[in-house]
């Protein structure tokens, strides 16, 4: 069997506290190949922390535990911090929600992007500039030479997020985690940004983990979907077979989304059953 890009077994993220530990992620297992995997769940379901745990960027006092967490077969659970720095950005990268906060406000776009490249590739400043401008062009930014010298407050949200994507893809990582990449953006530019990201990820044969609370968006841009609830995976299914989902939580999510073509007077309210917290996950498509 070919080793998948990413293999995670029984991942836990735990925050110890004086009274009782809080488990934010509770025994999540999945693999990722050259595909687009969506992770969907409500706020606090542990989807973002799952993404950060893969980069080993859970802040102390948080603890990451797993039976297995490998990247190309390499154990990243116990890799040294120095090795992790090579992997972060170089092999596995992440885009966050709002470019207003995730770009450094006092560094120019070009400075931040070149830095990302030069952290992993031995290139001169002028070469880094050429590659950065080329990358800006690939994310459909007009006049990239000018944008290179702009500061984050001088670009729009959609442009900022495209810059983020360009920056994170510059060192050619194998995996991209997109953590709610369009939630802070205007609806009209969401699809545009996602299309660009989607194209780049597919052209480069990368693995994508798309974290979102927007079930429709994830169904549109992903091959496979993981539904998370209370730190666990409750259901896994192919995006194309989402309509055949079995888990009541997934069904609840689907039914609470409005549909333009089949309008309803009243949308369902999501009902949560405490028993789901510990029930085994189901798979709609085996």
């Amino acid at each position: 069997m070919i080793e998948p890009l990413l293999n995670v077994e029984n991942l836990w993220v735990r925050f110890p506290s004086r009274n009782a530990d809080f488990d934010a992620v509770r025994g999540v297992s999945f693999t990722l190949g050259q595909e687009r995997l969506g992770i969907v769940g409500e706020s606090g379901s542990g989807k973002s922390l799952t993404g950060r745990a893969l980069l080993r960027l859970i802040q102390s006092p948080g603890i990451v535990e797993a039976d297995r967490m490998t990247l190309h077969g390499e154990n990243i659970l116990h890799a040294s911090e120095a090795r992790m720095r090579q992997l972060r950005g170089g092999q596995i990268s992440m885009i966050m929600q709002d470019p207003k906060f995730s770009l450094n406000p006092v560094m120019s776009v070009g400075q931040q992007m070149s830095e990302a490249l030069r952290a992993h590739k031995k290139v001169s400043k002028s070469q880094a500039r050429i590659q950065t401008i080329k990358m800006l062009d690939e994310v459909a930014i007009r006049d990239p030479e000018r944008v290179f010298d702009l500061f984050p407050h001088e670009v729009s949200g959609g442009m900022g997020q495209r810059i983020m994507i360009a920056m994170m893809l510059l060192p050619n990582p194998k995996i991209l985690i997109a953590d709610e990449p369009t939630s802070a953006l205007d609806v009209s530019v969401q699809i545009q940004v996602l299309d660009i990201m989607d194209k780049l990820v597919r052209d480069r044969g990368m693995g994508l983990i798309f974290i979102s609370h927007d079930l429709n968006l994830v169904a549109k841009f992903c091959d496979r979907i993981i539904i998370m609830y209370a730190g666990r995976i409750v259901e896994t299914c192919k995006a194309s077979e989402l309509r055949q989902a079995k888990h009541p939580y997934t069904l609840g999510l689907l039914n609470s989304v409005p549909n333009l073509e089949h309008p309803r007077d009243r949308l369902d309210v999501l009902k949560r059953d405490p028993a789901w917290r510990d029930a085994p996950s189901v798979s709609a498509c085996q």
């Binding site: 980069l55 960027l57 090579q86 950005g89 170089g90 929600q97 406000p105 006092v106 830095e115 060192p171």
Partner: protein, 326 residues
Amino acid sequence: MTTIFVTLLGLLFVTFMIGRVMPIDPVLAVIGERATQAQYEETFIALGLDQPLMVQFWIYVRDVMHGDFGQSIRTGQEVSSDIARVFPATFELATLGTLFGVVIGVPLGVLAAVRRGTWIDQIARFVGLIGYSMPIFWLGLVGLLVFYGILGWVSGPGRVGIFYQGIVEPITGMLLVDSLLRGEWDVFKSAFSHIILPASLLGYFSLAYISRMTRSFMLEQMNSEYIITARVKGLSEWQVVWGHAFRNIRIQLITVIALAYANLLEGSVLTEIIFAWPGIGQYITTSLLANDMNAVLGGTIVIGSIFVGINIFSDLLYRFFDPRAK
């Protein structure tokens, strides 16, 4: 520019008015209490006190514009030349103190924020707490007792050893600089061993303030999302802390350091008195006790202008460091 002008004019007006409402008779201060009535009236007119208040103010502003603060009654010299003599002493002390506070305080604050909750953070906070709460005259006296009286590591009060006084012809008025420029090594050594204790004492107080502020600024930045971005890029912790977080606190830090510096430049009266330092703080205090209003007003105006000047300078630095301010 207009704001600066208005600020300075306001400063002049307030100091002038304070000088006039003080229950000190300027005439008596000049001629003494046993002068005759005729002498009194003559001086009264000579000082221009028979003119309306606004005219007096106008004359005063005009004189100040020409660098003329009047004559000091106590020293018998022009106030401007007095200030030119005492201010470099304060400047030297304050600059050295601020340098000390910045060089140690900033890294200490950054380290405390990055290693939050560890022993180094505890030490930094303890050092800051003492600096905040101890009265400076007490620390000054204890410092003199320990380092001068018992250990003998440094020299005692004063600016320079008594044998070296008046050897160096002033160039800048700062003894450390002048003795170096003139190549007087022994004078430099003596001056250095005199200044080191009061300078570190003042430095300690600005260190306490600067490190506390640096720590809280850094804590705020280290929780920002762009810090996660920097880590995702695979940067080293050093690059994350100094290249990203610290870059964002420079602007706030400039304000803090400028304020701390201005505070020391105002003349730390207590320190200057304990260490018999002939600086501007001591000059103003002594003049005030001698009813020498011209000297007090002149000193106040100089200090006020420096305060305004430092604020302008820090505003200019903002533009340099913050792309959003352009």
